[in-house]
Amino acid sequence: MIVNSILLIALLCVALWAVMTRSLLRSAIALAIVSAVLTMLMFRLHSPLAAVFELSVCAGLIPVVFVSAITLTQPLSTKEVLQHMRERLTRFWYLPFIIVSSGIIFTFIHLSSKMPLPGAEVDKDVRILLWNIRPLDLIGQILILLIGAFGILIIFKEKKENE
C-alpha cells in the first residue's frame, strides 16, 4: 500500500510538471514518465498485458508523436517563451493550490465503501476473453486504426492540394 501511495503521488507530481512546465518538449517527456509510473501501478494491480501496452505505446509512441508535432510547428522562440512565462504563471499558479486543497478535502471526507460495488469475481484468462468473448473489440480497434491512418492521409492530401 505504501508503494502504491508513493507511485500515486509521483504520478500526480509528474502530471503537474507536464502541465505546468513552460517547455513543450519537457511536457512530452513528462507524459512519457507519467505513462511509465502508470505502468508500474498496473503491474502492481495484476494487469501485465495492459501495462505492457501502456509502456510500449503510451510511453514510447505518443511522445514521438508529440515531439514530431512540436518540431514541425516550432510554436514559440525562447524569447517569446520568456515573454509569455509571466502570463502563464498567472494562469497556472492556482493549479497546485487546487490539487493540494482537494487532496486535503478528500483526506478528511474519507471516501469509503458506503457506495455499493459489485462483489469480486474471478475472470477467465485475458486471451480467452479477448478472442472468444469480446472479438468485436478487435474489429473496432482495427476500424479505429484505419480511420486514424485515413485521417492523416486526408489531412496531408489537402495540404498538398493547397500548395
Partner: protein, 112 residues
Amino acid sequence: MNSEIARLFWSFSPFIIMLFIIGLYCIFVTFNLIRVLVGVEVLMKAATLLVIVAGAATGHIALAQVIVVTLIVIEVVVITIAAGVVIGIWRHNNSLDTRKIRQINDEGISDE
C-alpha cells in the same frame, strides 16, 4: 465485497479525481493547442487508471485489461489525428495560440 479490496479502490479514487482535475484545468486554462493535447493525455491516463482499479476491485481484471487495450488504441488514434490537425492549423495560420487563430478567422470572415 472484500473490505481490503474496497479499501484499495477508495484509496485510489482521490488520486484519480486529482489527475482528472489536472487534465481539465490544463484544457480550460491554456491557449496553446499542443498543451490542450497534453491535457487530453492526462485525462486519458486518469480514465485508464480508473478502469484498472475498478477491474482490480471487482475481480474483473481480465475484462479491465481488454477495455484498457481498446482505450489505448483509441488514445493513440485521437492524439495522432489531433497532432495532424494541429500541424495543419499551424501551417495555415502560422500560430498555435487559440486567441490569435480566432482573431485571424474573425478578420477573414469580416473581410469576406
